[in-house]
């Protein structure tokens, strides 16, 4: 009787002999698979016995930035820029839609101007323009293509009617004082410079000579993102659905109860599915743009009485704005500035083929519905085209080639950005509510927030005026040049 081991050996040899009828490529594939398995087993490979979703964010981070738009990535970049030692802070940016289909950043007209009435706004835009002019110094990554923002410095042209001309003059002196290069033009000078304008009804015009114009927002976003990720910021695709926070009840010196909240961790839900990760963090930055108000609601602010400090909601809500691309072969030439009419209509040149981007702000009463990003073409026919054709007669003959809609992160309180920490939620910082001029202020605003977090105070630009105090004290700082 043959020993059982011998039988086994015989059987295995037979099996190998019969399996040799496999072709050589198959054997090579098997060998490659075995080699790969061996390489995985050696140290240095990233194989792990736990089959965890690799898209989940890490279990803890120092700073979680909610919102992956240009503001969020700007803050991430500046945090890494200022951290003083490599890997000083662990930053993750949570963005729920990496195609950015609803993000305000990429749907923006991309303009940058210093013609504001608030000195803080002018400072922010001036610093940002300086940043963008030297963008490769800041955001250039070794061995990668240089950043090209397509920054057209064609300037902004604001037109004022008789009633508001005095406001424009006051704004002009503020702007010059802060350092913006702006000039005032009379109607005759205006007609001389831009013969295609119809100067009826225009009493005064304000034209930006330097650092104003438009650029490609998508390039800026990607430049920030690429540089920040090269410096070690972790990007996570997910949606923040909840916070875990501790509450401490205290009484103010006046005797009123104040409820302080401190965020312990952020619940990040994966985009399509039920998986989530609680990210334990020290600081949360709310850069969620149009959806910042909804995010702050998750912290239970609205459950407090309305007229207390703790109960004041974050006054940011989405407002839909339309942009129409029109083609007019006989339109204004290549030196067209970004024209903003006193009626609320605006347009700018897009590219070199006679295309223009135009739009208008709707009246307060006719705000469009913000549940979707559908474009209302009737709005163009009713509100935009008449004003456009009145101001620039060449635009009577044009063709709308395309249109899109985007959200403003509209600050219902005073339409200016909110930069700073929340008085009651201890470790949440805000960089939101810019109401249409966030993209142009993003580099400087990101730097301001990074200084607040890492240095404790604003260092280069003093943005205390844009903090939460004004909302608590109900003192709006209205910007008189919002479109």
């Amino acid at each position: 009787m043959e020993c059982p081991e011998g039988v086994l050996l015989l059987l295995s040899f037979t099996a190998i002999f019969f399996s040799c009828e496999h072709t050589v490529p198959e054997l090579e594939a098997q060998l490659a698979a075995m080699r790969k398995k061996a390489a995985d087993a050696l140290p240095g490979s990233s194989w792990s016995p736990f089959d965890i979703n690799p898209n989940l964010p890490p279990e803890r981070a120092d700073i979680v930035i909610i919102g992956g738009g240009v503001m969020g990535w700007s803050i991430a970049y500046w945090l890494k820029q200022k951290e003083r030692v490599r890997e000083g802070v662990k930053v993750i940016v949570v963005e729920r839609d990496l195609t950015y289909s609803q993000a305000s950043t990429v749907l923006s007209a991309g303009g940058i101007r210093q013609q504001f009435s608030l000195p803080e706004n002018i400072h922010l835009s001036l610093a940002s323009a300086d940043f963008m002019r030297n963008i490769n110094e800041h955001l250039g990554v070794l061995n990668e293509d240089p950043v090209d923002l397509q920054f057209n410095q064609s300037g902004y042209l604001f037109l004022a009617s008789e009633e508001v001309a005095h406001i424009m003059e006051e704004n002009y002196s503020t702007q010059r004082q802060v350092g913006a290069k702006v000039t005032l033009l009379s109607p005759t000078q205006l007609k001389e410079k831009f013969p295609w304008i119809n100067t009826d009804g225009v009493a005064l015009a304000s034209y930006g000579l330097e650092n104003e114009g438009w650029f490609d927002p998508w390039s800026l976003l990607n430049a920030f993102r690429r540089k920040a990720m090269s410096m070690g910021v972790i990007q996570c695709c997910g949606e923040v659905t909840d916070f875990k926070y501790t509450v401490s009840m205290m009484t103010s010196p006046g005797g009123d109860p104040v409820v302080y909240k401190r965020i312990n961790s952020v619940k990040v839900q994966m985009p399509k599915g039920l998986e989530y990760q609680m990210v334990e963090c020290a600081i949360v930055v709310n850069a969620a743009g149009a959806f910042s108000g909804k995010l702050a609601e998750m912290l239970g602010i609205s459950s407090n009485p309305k007229d207390t400090i703790a109960g004041t909601p974050v006054p940011v809500e989405p407002r839909k704005r339309y942009i129409y691309v029109v083609h007019c072969p006989d339109g204004p030439g290549l030196d067209t500035p970004f024209l903003i009419d006193y009626s609320g209509m605006y347009f700018r040149r897009e590219g070199l083929g006679g295309n223009y981007i135009t739009g208008a702000s709707p009246k307060e009463a006719d705000e469009p519905d913000t549940s979707n990003l559908e474009v209302d073409h009737q709005f163009f026919e009713d509100s935009v085209w008449p004003r456009l054709a009145y101001r620039v007669p060449a635009f009577e003959k044009l063709k709308v080639t395309s249109a899109w809609a985007g959200f403003y992160d509209y600050n219902t309180f005073d339409q200016n950005g909110i930069i700073g920490d929340h008085p009651v939620i201890n470790n949440m910082y805000f960089a939101t509510g810019f109401s249409g001029h966030g993209l142009q202020q993003s580099p400087a605003a990101g730097r301001a927030v990074a200084e607040l977090i890492l240095d404790g105070n604003f260092k280069t630009l003093d943005m205390r005026g844009l903090g939460f105090r004004r909302i608590m004290a109900q003192e709006p700082i209205l910007e008189r040049n919002i479109l």
Binding site: P58, R60, G88, R262, A282, L454, G456
Partner: protein, 460 residues
């Protein structure tokens, strides 16, 4: 000995049978009582140095300070873990305390062992609860990596030790510490004795840790929960030092030449790791590297085998145990409030928690070896002993002391002084539990100023 071991063993059923409300106070109280009894070990009236003798266990002036330190640390670990375990389910809390008690038991038996075999078995046994603590209760994904490093570094270096012990038993017929200290030089063939010397010390050098094989320490300390960090820094490193001191009795004539590269490595490590401390962004990582730096001095002192060297090593081990554990507790108080270990984000806390700043100050001053604390005594004696061994060591030890002072002050200034970040303005105030914890760390340190002979060891 049994009057300490049996109560410690019975802490395990205590932790399983106590009611939920009374779990932590009960285990705390009972471990404190055990600690009070263990203080009796410090008094040594024997002529042969060995006291509380039974066939398997004994204490002598070398092991009794370490034993008392181990027993002292258990209630402190329980105090420190109370807060972060509060949200875990009850069963897990019981398992945690059981793990701490098991670790305690193996450590007491390791330090009190009279046979080198029992010492070795207990040395290996301490690995298991520590590994479970790090990998289960650590905070991040990296803890798996940390546990692996910790386990395999120690295991790989200590398996040759097993072979050596068996060979020693074969050659000399005994492994009892009481007899081994009376043996003469052991004859082993000329090339094998180098291997034999290295393998008998390698396990302890890795545990100390010596500079070249120290990689497991920063990972393990940073990823471990607070109790894990405390016991690692305070006691487990000292296992290495204690083992070295015991083993070197039988390695005599060889040691004069063979210790040379390890002393150089240890002293270079002091300099290198203190410099690394200055570049750390993570607070726990800074404290971990500071541990490596202090232990480098201890390793060098033990290797030169002079009476002053051994005395200094023991004093520094005890003092460093208390100081390092206190520093980890302080880092933990910061972490529990801000959930961040990064030093940039947790600054200026003197303004908010002034009493905690006092503890920070005393502990950082202890770390930089301020007189008259035993840290200085230990370091001074070691530096003098090394100077007697060779004049050139003063370069390393002097520069090391300078950089130690620099990074200790840096740590204090970064965490306590400076502008208070906005997100730290309303932090929870310090708990009395935390104040008690730190007082219990610093009080022995201050008391030892008055009677350092308790921790002088048998060499003096």
């Amino acid at each position: 000995m049994l009057k300490i071991l049996i109560p410690t063993l019975l802490l395990i059923p205590t932790s399983w049978l106590a009611k939920a409300k009374w779990l932590w106070p009960t285990t705390l109280l009972h471990s404190f009582i055990i600690t009070l009894f263990s203080l009796a070990w410090l008094k040594n009236t024997s002529e042969t140095n060995w006291s509380t003798l039974n066939p398997y266990m004994a204490t002598d002036p070398l092991s009794s300070p370490l034993l008392t330190l181990t027993c002292w640390l258990l209630p402190l670990m329980i105090l420190a873990s109370q807060n972060h375990l509060a949200q875990d389910p009850l069963v897990r809390q019981r398992i945690y305390i059981t793990l701490l008690v098991t670790l305690q038991l193996s450590l007491i038996m390791a330090f009190a062992a009279t046979e080198l075999t029992m010492f070795y078995v207990m040395f290996e046994t301490t690995l298991i609860p520590t590994l479970i603590l790090i990998t289960r209760w650590g905070n991040q994904m990296e803890r798996l990596n940390a546990g692996t490093y910790f386990l395999f570094y120690t295991l790989a270096s200590s398996l040759p030790l097993l072979i050596t012990l068996l060979a020693l038993q074969n050659k000399t017929g005994t492994l009892s510490l009481l007899i081994i200290q009376l043996l003469g030089p052991i004859p082993i063939s000329p090339y094998v004795n180098i291997i034999w010397w290295t393998t008998s010390l390698l396990a302890f050098l890795v545990k100390m840790p010596l500079y070249g094989v120290h990689l497991w320490l920063p990972k393990a300390h940073v990823e471990a929960p607070i109790a894990g960090s405390m016991i690692l820094a305070a006691v487990l490193l000292k296992l290495g030092g204690y083992g070295m001191m015991r083993m070197m009795l039988i390695l005599s004539p060889l040691a004069k030449e063979l210790c040379y590269p390890f002393i150089i490595l240890a002293l270079w490590g002091v300099l290198m790791t203190s410099s690394i401390c200055l570049r750390q962004t993570d607070l726990k990582s800074l404290i971990a590297y500071s541990s490596v730096s202090h232990m480098g001095l201890v390793a060098a002192a033990i290797l030169i085998q002079t009476p002053w060297g051994l005395t200094g090593a023991l004093i520094l081990m005890i003092a460093h145990g208390l100081t390092s554990s206190a520093l980890f507790c302080l880092a933990n108080t910061n972490y529990e409030r801000t959930h961040s270990r990064t030093m940039i984000l947790t600054r200026g806390s003197q303004m908010i928690l002034p009493l905690m700043a006092t503890w920070w100050l005393i502990t950082c001053l202890a770390n930089l070896a301020l007189p008259p604390l035993p840290n200085l005594m230990g370091e001074l004696i070691i530096i003098s002993a090394l100077l007697g061994w060779s004049w050139w060591t003063i370069i390393f030890t002097g520069a090391g002391a300078l950089i130690t002072a620099t990074y200790s002050l840096y740590m204090y200034l970064m965490t306590q002084r400076g502008p208070v970040p906005n997100h730290m303005i309303s932090m929870n105030p310090s708990h009395s539990r935390e104040h008690l914890l730190l007082t219990l760390h610093l009080l022995p340190l201050l008391l030892l100023v008055f009677k350092p002979t308790t921790i002088w060891g048998s060499a003096y």
